[in-house]
Symmetry: D2
């Protein structure tokens, strides 16, 4: 655990929980390099959470573990410290608990973000916006072969958003004359959207959404080549958290994007 | 010239001007196949424009020539016929003239659209929306080698929209450490956005906008494989024209998209 | 049926069987435009095959139907006319029959080619050559949604060639840690190679072979945008057929490529 | 400097020169993990080169600096140690010097390789093989924006190989009807091949060769996402070096590929 006391008064004082994990280290670096904020504490397993108050943290970034994140957040909310959270495992019960705690801290903000990649968020947004204008939509996601789940969480979420947009627009069923197919050839079905999962050594994390109508296609592709890609999203979350008290789920609500 | 009188009363009665050109023929087919509208006249060079009134046309699609389009539009506006126009060559003087004529026909709509490809319109829209979130943006457009201009009009327009969005957001200059370059390697400069024009036999009309920040890239690609790709855009224009009296420039204003 | 008698003596005199089909028309145009050959007959259903001899054809291109192609070829071999055949439906029995007939015509050549796309042939060749150098190989094929079979014949053939090359090189099993998957997400299994079939309106016929090892990937992509793509392959077949008496299966044997 | 004495007698004893550089560290790791070889010394600036003999090195990998590499190689050749060299800066004079030294060590091999990426080598090979079958070839290379030169060395080399293959095949000039162009739009001209250099934050090192003829295109793309991509190429060089005494320039001569 490290603390720092060199913060200028006008800068946001940030602590990172899970600071020695792979992502945590990147976040520490990004906070240190960012204008308008100061890294005041790097906390990891074995460190006392009391350091947050001792270091005068105004906001934390939490990339820890489902087992400890609720304890961390209870402490933060109790002490009026904003939280930007990338840790997974939030179900409805946990979100309800957070809302209850936040009732007692009306000026404190908590952001739960399943995805801090601005590129991925825009890909999902644009895919859903475009879907009603096209007859067909399919998703191809490509990852390194050590990934355990197929499709990826981002691909599933994209498919759900696209399906929802098509339902809202009253889109017709997608054309597909396939009559003879090998099992699996046409991919997984996620709410009617075919999703294909490629696993190839050398890849990192990539996704293409292919939309088509008569005579033209539109393809939206996101390539995540490095976990440094989380940095800008976390910084965007930190910069906006003071202006968003209460619970927010999804970084997209903080981005200045047309709805 | 062909006319038809089989229109149901509730259907939009459409005439096509330039009906025997390559695009015109595709538009005629698209109108015939579309629900809610009837093709009542196919007009081309040598035919009398009077057929529009005789056939009871309520709206025209004009894919003719800069030399004749203003005469066509004067006739249409005089007779309260809406116009969806893909013909090129509209400068400020021509647009001012159209506005003057339309003052005398307050319920008539004219849509001047440089691009009827919904995919291309969405590509430009999304590229401009995404640009402020990324450090770098470049455009690669790829066409058949019989194309005379480089970059394409769509690539120039995309670059202008991206540059405008970056200026509005106060984006910093794009990073580029190139110190030793062959002439042309870094592409054309369109308002600060590098644009690269590929000309390869077998290609039709394609464009990629590549946006990047630390650790991730977002690529928006449009492939136009067939001039049938204009059909859905023209139909969208026809369906909305009655609700948009006056002059509109750009099909994007008729699409139900977030601004 | 049309015949022509304007051939220069040194030019190859070519007839097209199936001349009024979509592909046949393109082939006629390609032969007419090609240097070193003359189109001497366009034959289709209802025409007498005797026109081949009357027109002095030295070689035919056959894009007809499995029901009639054997009759056509018997006539050609009987009369010493070379044949370049794109018609489908050749099984071992038919190939054996052709070999028997060709024994009596030792200077006559017959090329049976399942694929005349030089790009597709090179894609398959390169994919098989590269496969032993990479840990992973997967195939994504993308077609219009009116296609009946999935995967495409080209994708199956590519997978077979890649699998054969990997077996010959003693390649290890491909890495894949997938432990939780939706049915179909990981594609179809063709001899151990995952194949993914995308069907999207606006696409024509496309295929990507993605090969990867630690830190890098190699992607070989073929886009067929137009059936005019068959022309150069058919011409290559015609130009080489005189030098390849007997039966040849696969245009790749005529291309001057390293093995 | 570290040395090891745990090598099994049948394993190739390898030393790495430049072992503490970014690439050097990756190479050390790759050698340690590889079957059939042992890492016996990690040497960098400040270490004595005598350690190579002390550690019983049979082969070295040199990723050092143009200023010191010739001294390293003289020592290795004097002592009969094979060398696989990724250091740059070899001109004709240096290659001639190496040949002279090697005359006195007829069983020693030196491989000078400008590129250890097997994917990049295959991309160049396939592009040159395919070029004569297509009317058009263009190259798009995409890199991070801290790169100083445009086009990249790999893109220039690819263009030279493609141009050479087209000349050898007597290919016609590429079609290009461009009559109105912004400066730079059509890229840099490398021996008649247009090369386009994209510089976008988030990219690593990527290249596409796009070949096209009537109706179809073939695209060969290499993505290098990590300098770990050099490992397999260096190992391939080490495994083959004993069987290739004398000077070899280019790893491609060691790969079992059709010429």
């Amino acid at each position: 655990m490290n603390t720092a006391t060199h913060a200028a008064t006008s800068e946001l004082r940030v602590a990172v929980l899970g600071a020695r994990g792979k992502v945590g280290r990147e976040i520490c670096r990004a906070v240190e390099d960012a204008e308008g904020m100061t890294l005041v504490a790097e906390v990891d397993a074995g460190d006392s959470i009391e350091v947050l108050v001792e270091a005068g943290a105004q906001a934390v970034v939490d990339f820890t573990h489902p087992d400890v994140v609720m304890g961390n957040l209870e402490y933060c909310i109790d002490h009026g410290i904003h939280a930007v959270v990338g840790t997974t495992g939030f179900d409805d019960d946990r979100l309800a608990q957070l809302r209850t705690w936040l009732e007692g801290a009306p000026s404190t903000g908590v952001l739960i973000a399943p995805n801090f990649s601005i590129g991925a968020i825009l890909m999902m947004r644009f895919a859903a916006q475009a879907a009603p204008f096209f007859d067909s939509v399919e998703i191809v996601e490509l990852h390194h072969p050590t990934k355990a789940d197929a499709p990826s969480g981002t691909a599933r979420r994209t498919a759900e958003l696209v399906a929802e947009a098509r339902r809202a627009a009253g889109s017709a069923a997608m054309p597909d004359a396939t009559s003879t197919a090998l099992a699996g050839a046409r991919g997984a079905d996620v709410e009617g959207i075919p999703v294909h999962s490629v696993r190839v050594r050398g890849l990192v994390a990539h996704q293409e959404v292919i939309l088509g109508e008569l005579g033209e296609t539109l393809t939206i592709r996101h390539d995540s080549l490095d976990r440094a890609g989380f940095g800008p999203g976390v910084l965007a979350g930190l910069r906006a958290i003071e202006d968003h008290p209460g619970l927010t789920v999804g970084l997209e609500h903080f981005l200045d994007l047309p709805r």
